[in-house]
Amino acid sequence: MKRSTLFSMLVAVVICTAPLLVAAAKVGQAAPDFTATASNGKTFRLSDNRGKYVVLEWHNNGCPYVGKHYKSGNMQRLQKQWTGQSVVWFTIISSAPGNQGYVTASEENEYLTKMHAAPTAALLDTSGEIGHLYDAKTSPQMVVINPEGIVIYDGAIDDKPTTDLSDITGATNYVTLALEQAMTGKLVQTPATRPYGCSVKYSGSTH
């Protein structure tokens, strides 16, 4: 009797928690693998990049927080700086069709050219699958994955959660910090922060 009660409790616990435990990337754990089509038509798989650092950048071109980092050239500067050091940089767009930030491949290519953006690729995550896999909440949310495929940073781009361009100067950039510390064999001091920005415009996220 007791045993069966305990068993049903265990079953209940497993049933209750299972959906929450599925995927959702966590700092210190393996980065969930994904395959996606980029705006340039190529297909990218995360696990093909083992041996390299990978940065994931959640993007929405209509979000003022994203605008802050693109109008100032901050994001492009980071993309150029780190892809120049063999880091793979994926810009990920998880906006569903009809929602803010959704773009077709050609619209994204135009944007990348106009903004002089330089990610390795811009991945079109129209279904929101990658976004949900990483539990991406905001644009610009940033994730850093080490060459072993472990998430070493997840959170905000920097410590100034505002839309003011003037706040970029003097901000501590968490992505740069994580990459610099990891590349020099140090422990990442700030592995997780609250990502700031606009909510990711997943399918079904409009009222």
Partner: protein
């Protein structure tokens, strides 16, 4: 002077009066525009009395469907920020935040306000203020207004209040707004209420003994990235209260000493919560060990 002319003057006067009449707040200056709404700086009293504390309010009116954010905005967004421009003899306190609402979707949950909200700010007037005839109060506000999209706004507000040595007198034009705002302010919990928070691996188990059974409660964490905002808050009614399971944020990598926030009981108002976190559950890895140890509500204090 012809009769015609004077009747025109009379109707103009009537029209002017009619424009003033429709609302009790008609005599107040209309708010400054912000994205999809207006914002007005209001004062609770008719004048500033040196040596006394008085209250200012930031009154937001938002178009339907648009919202602004609580001090902890939740998963996205940011709270309004104020840069005061006050005479040196006036010192502003911190914003008194009314209890927020849960906003957003199943995967991204924010904390904020829709329709209208007044953020109250206490201001202390030094006795040295007496030499001036009036005080010019200014504030630069930055506010993010969101619906499906977010628009940042910035506005400059100002208000001039006479300085009088008479005791403070309330301003009838703003009385209702301040009264409404105070009704929504979280208050300290009654001394007899007991709270505890148990660290149970993936969750915090918040237990409340409030003398009656509670079937609905929402907890709003004051500090970001402690609890998973989007996770359902699972409530177990207890004979004299409830137990609320709050899933931890994936970004909470270190144990916390205290859980602070606002507890909203649907029937019963909003309360300030500041409870030490018991590590007992974490040590035994047993999150279902019944009702956790109860702490004194003396631990409940102002934020």
């Amino acid at each position: 002077m012809s009769g015609h002319k004077s009747s025109r003057g009379f109707s103009a006067a009537l029209a002017f009066l009619a424009a003033l009449l429709p609302s009790a707040a008609g005599a107040r200056a209309s708010g400054s525009p912000i994205p999809h709404g207006t914002l007005e700086l209001i004062a609770e009293n008719q004048w500033v009395t040196p040596g006394h504390e008085f209250f200012l309010g930031l009154h937001f009116q938002l178009e339907k469907g648009w919202h602004i954010y609580w001090v902890n905005p939740g998963d996205s967004g940011e709270p309004p920020r104020v840069k005061w421009q006050l005479p040196p003899d006036l010192s502003p306190g911190v914003i008194e935040w009314p209890a927020p609402q849960r906003l957003g979707t199943s995967s991204v949950v924010d904390f904020g306000y829709q329709d209208a909200v007044t953020l109250i700010v206490p201001v202390h007037a030094e006795t040295s203020l007496a030499a001036e005839p009036s005080a010019h109060l200014g504030a630069e506000i930055k506010v993010l207004v969101c619906r499906e999209m977010c628009i940042p706004g910035k506005t400059q507000l100002s208000l001039t209040l006479p300085i009088k040595s008479q005791p403070p007198a309330p301003d009838v034009r703003t009385r209702e707004l301040f009264a409404a705002a105070r009704k929504d302010l979280p208050r300290p919990a009654p001394q007899v209420w007991k709270f505890s928070v148990d660290d149970a691996r993936d969750s915090f188990v918040f237990a409340a003994n409030v003398a009656v059974q509670i079937k609905q409660a929402i907890f709003f964490p004051l500090v970001v990235a402690q609890i998973d905002n989007a996770a359902p808050q699972v409530l177990h009614p207890l004979p004299s209260g409830f137990r609320l399971t709050l899933r931890k944020s994936d970004r909470l990598l270190k144990p916390i000493d205290r859980l602070q926030g606002v507890l909203v009981l649907s029937s019963n108002g909003a309360y300030l919560i500041d409870v030490p976190v018991s590590k007992r559950g974490a040590q035994t890895n047993n999150s279902s060990s019944g009702i956790p140890e109860i702490q004194s509500s003396k631990e409940v204090s102002q934020q």
